[in-house]
């Protein structure tokens, strides 16, 4: 028999970016809010304190801040014909764990999608015809427009304190910014950061080819900054320990630096760590949630009643909890029925490495969001009909990390160990750079999430099963990027150049790190038959459950997801405050 705790107005599952935003905004409404975080507590000091946190082996290689597969993982297969196996060693993606979630170990790239991306299906059909969308493809419109979300992007960027330069300010195209971006209503809160050698070389080469380089929008502070909650960031020192680390310097935006100390002051807020939610408990009719059940730090099962349940866990865990709790109908890939688990998508990336004997890149200087970017081959710049694919990429170059172990790029013919390897390191450490493409990934009927029939987690719950593979459309897209990046790289006259782009027949490989941009599974939309949540991130079936985060993306955008995740959270909480709380009901 589970212990029962005092009922709360709101229970939030997960205390990362979206959980912190919800906590702050709902506490400001006067609600009694409890956040449950499955991992431990984390704060800048002592958990990210200088210099202990700059330990690449512990955190960069051994994943000190990530979820532990023995406690929580998924099973993965590439098609219905394979048997899914547990993801026992982290590789391809790295979900976070603990207060701050993945929002503390990210790099800080904070883009806004193009307006066309929110209406992708309609955009393709209107401009290139329905035939371009293959039968297996499951792309959808989001049910929300860029224009509707714009104020919420602005809000999130001010809270997170983003550095950058607006290329489209209220319709005015400005030199030095991204001319292809959707209009912004305001400047970035901070000016862009200084750039490293590779980033500037790339920008020069791109300019010469007639492209339009701009500074990557960055959740790494270029100056002192105070956000609307009074929280503060200090200027980055380019130590290069962003990705996989908490920031030791109060320079990287995270729930810790931007929200949590302000939230913890509130008397109507409480959070419990090492509290892993097992299930959302539904009322007998299944139309509302009564609360959640979780396992506390002592392993005891606790029933926590609440009027409003916010799923603010990582994308995979949000979908898993919905499947385990029976919120919405589970997706069946064979019949195409059901919505929860459909449209799982990822990110289609590639890159070219350039080696220059005579250039010193000082790779120990960098920051997670360093770099110049071009959007000349982004979604609204490509003739999909002519090129034969749907999608696009941004192309960029910069030094994200100054971490020695993972920053020893070597020519392909260098031995992997021994004297030859040492020789290669001697010759090439600090003499290379890379140009990468970061691209969209479409959704497909066959790429999806469901409950695994075999494997169970430590609490006896079925693991979630991921069925995912690369598809020809996205491979054509990434090959197109290769055809644009290689001439650009060649124009820079490197001594050696080597490319790595997925080619025809490529299969998903879970071992090498690719990106922690897992999306979909509880997608938003305008129709309960084809989406799990409405445009306000509210479950179609259980109206007092809101599901935040990238699980709502119907397919993946060409950009990093956090800016959109943050904007959607502010959008959803605005609807909760203004519309739902006065009259709790399905909002759409």
């Amino acid at each position: 028999m589970a212990r029962q705790e005092k009922k709360r107005d709101v229970v939030i599952v997960g205390l990362g970016w979206t959980g912190s935003i919800m906590g702050m905004e709902l506490c400001n409404e006067g609600l009694d809010v409890l956040a449950l975080e499955r991992g431990g507590d984390r704060d800048t000091v002592p958990d990210f304190q200088y210099p202990q946190v700059a330990d690449e082996l512990k955190y960069g290689v051994r994943y000190g801040f990530m979820q532990k597969p023995r406690k929580s993982t998924v099973t993965i297969r590439r098609s219905e014909s394979e048997t899914a196996l547990p993801y026992r060693h982290l590789g391809s993606f790295l979900p976070g764990d603990g207060v701050g979630g993945a929002g503390m170990h990210w790099n800080g790239h904070t883009f806004r999608p193009m307006q066309e991306e929110f209406e992708l299906k309609s955009y393709v059909e209107k401009n290139f015809g329905k035939d371009l969308i293959s039968d297996d493809m499951a792309i959808q419109d989001w049910g929300i427009s860029y224009k509707e979300l714009e104020p919420y992007f602005d809000r999130f960027e001010k809270v997170a304190g983003i550095s950058g330069y607006a290329g489209n300010l209220n319709g005015e195209i400005r030199e030095g910014g991204n001319p292809f971006e959707a209009p912004r209503s305001d400047e970035f809160p901070m000016p862009p950061l200084d750039q490293t050698v590779d980033s500037n070389m790339f920008a020069d080469a791109a300019r010469k080819m007639g492209y339009h380089p701009y500074h990557r929008p960055s959740a790494v502070a270029s100056t002192s900054y105070t956000n609307p909650y009074g929280m503060q960031l200090g200027p980055c020192n380019f130590c290069g320990f962003c990705e996989r680390f908490g920031c030791l310097n109060y320079s990287k935006s995270s729930p810790q630096t931007c929200i949590l100390d302000a939230l913890k002051r509130k008397e109507n807020f409480e959070y419990r760590t090492n509290a892993e939610v097992l299930k959302v408990e539904l009322a007998a009719d299944g139309k509302t949630a009564k609360g959640v059940t979780y396992i506390d730090a002592n392993g005891e099962e606790v029933y926590q009643p609440a009027d409003l349940v916010i799923l603010a866990a990582y994308q995979l865990h949000n979908v898993h909890l919905m499947l385990l709790s029976g919120i919405g109908q589970a997706y069946n890939a064979a019949t195409g029925e059901g919505v929860v688990g459909k449209n799982y998508a990822y990110q289609t990336n590639g890159g070219t490495a350039l080696f220059f004997k005579d250039v010193d890149f000082n790779p120990f200087v960098g920051n997670g969001s360093n770099g110049h970017v071009i959007d000349d081959f982004a979604i609204n710049q490509i003739d999909f009909g002519k090129e034969g694919f749907i999608g696009g990429s941004y192309i960029s170059s910069g030094t994200f990390n100054g971490q020695p172990i993972r920053s020893m790029r070597l020519p392909a013919d260098t031995p992997k160990w021994g004297a030859g390897w040492k020789e290669g390191i001697k010759d090439w450490y600090g003499h290379s750079m890379a140009i990468g493409s970061h691209g969209s990934n479409m959704s497909y009927h066959s790429n999806h999430l469901d409950l695994d029939p075999t494997y169970k987690d430590q609490h006896g719950r079925p693991l979630m099963r991921m069925t995912f593979n690369w598809k020809p459309n996205d491979i054509r897209m990434t090959q197109f990027m290769k055809s644009k990046i290689e001439p650009l790289a060649e124009s820079m006259n490197p001594d050696i150049m080597q490319s790595s782009f997925k080619s025809e027949g490529a299969m998903y490989d879970v071992r090498p790190y690719q990106t922690t941009h897992n999306v979909g599974g509880a997608i938003m939309g305008t129709d309960p038959q084809s989406s799990a949540v409405n445009k306000f991130q509210q479950s179609w079936d259980v109206h007092n459950v809101f599901v935040l985060g990238a699980s709502a993306f119907p397919q993946n955008i060409q950009y990093n997801p956090t800016g959109t995740v943050g904007a959607l959270a502010y959008w959803a909480v605005d609807a909760i405050r203004k519309d739902y709380l006065p009259n709790p009901r399905p909002l759409a």
Binding site: T44, V45, Q49, G230, L233, G234, N237, N249
Partner: protein, 443 residues
């Protein structure tokens, strides 16, 4: 010979009579400064506000203890003084105090049974409190504080300081008249002076102590008024004079420092963290403006004066500043240990120019904690780190990590000496023994 004995005997008798008089003469408490009308009611919320401005909580609450239940050790040169339980518990607290008893404790430092409290309780300052504020405080403690039935530890000082009757003598010497006189024709300045001198009891730390350890400089016309003091080896910097913060900083900087614990130059550390965290952050804008205006006024600044942004230091100081910055920026591996340790430990936030970043990373160059005559505060912060209090306007508990675990006493001494003499700083060197002493004391 006989005569001498007679004289000695006479003196002894006189002395005994005098001591007897000091001990046994009935003590007369200070009367209320004003008679409030019978219908007077404390305005809603005023009691809590006065408590905050007087910062009762900081001393009367132990770390992790119940609010106002006492038990916080106050280190004094005489030994440890334990703060008392001032919750309305009748047995262990002040539940049986009448308003007159309460006022006598605030004004005269006397408990209802005639026991004198040690002047760690700043009744030298609180005796300037208005009757309205005394009433408000009394009302707050009697009605808004939860009684805690727990005895605070007895203060047990060594002889002769355990002879509390001696405090009657001390009081005769140390205490001025009760009440606060309005010196100015300006209501803002009068309010500022009242808050600084009475409730805020700033002089308790920021004025030096005289030969009998009384506050030397309690009124604006005292020569040592707010001229700087030392608390447990930490400098409580001067608030008066050319190099003091109120003279150097802008109105906004002072306002920010006092309400949020941080500004574009510096951040609070040590005892001042509590003052900001428990007290000053709650000051109304009006009251904070009054305090800031007053502190600037006594330094010859009017509200319209802006502080010159240009560095008015002499050329030598500017050259020294550049020299240190260049040395650090050179990253030359052969540089001396002090600057090398700075690069390896401090530079990430405070940067090569020692200027840090506004509101987040304090300046090292020209920082009063860094250049204090007594380096205890600086050593403590290097060894143990420091955390800013969370305040309403700036909630972030920005923290400097501790470096004691990775730096030896010798290294801390080298580093501390470097920052005390780098840029335009010019303070005496720190020795490894000084570091060892602070390490032993704070661990």
């Amino acid at each position: 010979m006989k005569k001498l004995i007679k004289i000695v005997a006479a003196l002894a008798v006189l002395g005994a009579v005098a001591i007897g008089a000091i001990i046994f003469m009935p003590f007369s408490r200070t009367e209320p400064l004003t008679e409030l009308p019978a219908y007077y009611k404390v305005p809603e919320g005023h009691g809590k506000y006065v408590m905050r401005m007087a910062d009762c909580k900081a001393c009367h609450t132990a770390d992790g203890g119940e609010p106002f239940a006492g038990g916080r050790p106050i280190e004094s040169p005489l030994g440890t003084i334990w703060s008392t339980n001032i919750t309305p518990d009748p047995e262990n607290g002040i539940g049986n105090y009448s308003l007159d008893d309460f006022r006598a404790a605030l004004y005269d430092g006397v408990e209802p049974d005639g026991t004198h409290v040690y002047p760690a309780m700043p009744y030298e300052n609180y005796r300037k409190m208005s009757e309205e504020d005394v009433r408000a405080l009394y009302d707050f403690f009697m009605n808004e504080v939860k009684p805690v039935a727990k005895k605070a530890p007895e203060t047990d000082l060594a002889f002769p300081f355990n002879q509390r009757w001696g405090l009657r003598l001390w009081n005769w010497f140390a205490l001025g008249d009760a009440g606060h006189e309005d010196f100015y024709d300006d209501a803002v300045l009068n309010r500022g002076a009242y808050l600084v001198d009475s409730l805020g009891h700033c002089a308790a730390c920021h004025s030096p102590r005289n030969a009998i350890m009384a506050q030397d400089g309690i009124n604006a016309d005292d020569s040592n008024y707010l001229a700087g003091g030392v608390i447990d080896g930490w400098l409580a910097p001067s608030l008066h004079g050319e190099n003091s913060a109120p003279a150097k900083w802008s109105e906004q900087d002072l306002h920010d420092y006092l309400t949020t614990g941080r500004n574009s130059h510096n951040a609070v550390a040590g005892e001042m963290s509590q003052v900001v965290g428990d007290s000053l952050q709650y000051a109304t804008d009006e009251d904070m403006t009054a305090m800031v205006t007053y502190l600037r006024h006594i330094n010859g600044k009017s509200p319209s004066d802006t502080v010159a942004v240009a560095n008015d230091k002499d050329e030598d100081a500017n050259a020294a500043q550049d020299e240190t910055t260049k040395l650090l920026a050179s990253a030359d591996p052969s540089m001396p240990l002090g600057p090398r340790l700075y690069l390896d430990n401090c530079n990430a936030c405070h940067f090569v120019n020692g200027k840090g970043a506004d509101g987040v990373f304090p300046e090292i160059d020209g920082n009063s904690l860094v250049t204090a005559d007594t380096p205890n505060g600086l050593i403590d912060v290097i060894l143990n780190g420091a955390v800013l209090p969370s305040t309403e306007k700036r909630p972030a508990r920005l923290a400097m990590p501790d470096f004691g675990h990775r730096l030896s006493d010798e290294e801390v001494a080298e580093l501390a000496t470097f920052v005390r003499q780098g840029w335009s700083n010019d303070a005496p060197a720190v020795t490894a023994d000084q570091v060892a002493a602070i390490r032993a004391k704070t661990h």
